[in-house]
Symmetry: C2
Subunit: 80 residues, 2 copies
Amino acid sequence: MKAKIIITPKKAVLDPQGKTVQTALEHMGHTGIKAVHVGKYLEIELAGTDVEAARQALNAAAHQFLSNPVIEDYHLEICP
Amino acid sequence: MKAKIIITPKKAVLDPQGKTVQTALEHMGHTGIKAVHVGKYLEIELAGTDVEAARQALNAAAHQFLSNPVIEDYHLEICP
């Protein structure tokens, strides 16, 4: 079983990394880029098969210490 | 139009950040975790509507400077 967690800065929070990537893309000649957001991606390989239990455990982990809920949002996806 | 790029370290490459997250999860009482891989997530908002052109441009950008093809893989997804 595999879990994927995507952690992104909240839209209201300044994202200097995203701004830098956007500027770099523009300097490299890529036009038509409105915004770039840079986040973290976690892929977790799990031993069990209980999707619901894994979702609960990882939701708690993502909320408590994998993300900073003050400035970041996360999206959890579990692939059985 | 929105593009999502996920950049992960190649499976053969040492991933100290993933190992650290795995150890942290275990210390927090989460069991049954076989492996953790930590990567980058880029969300790019595009002005145009030509999916194929965007795919080509972003594939080139991802290969040339958003990822390091020696040690990283990337996955590009475009949502029209």
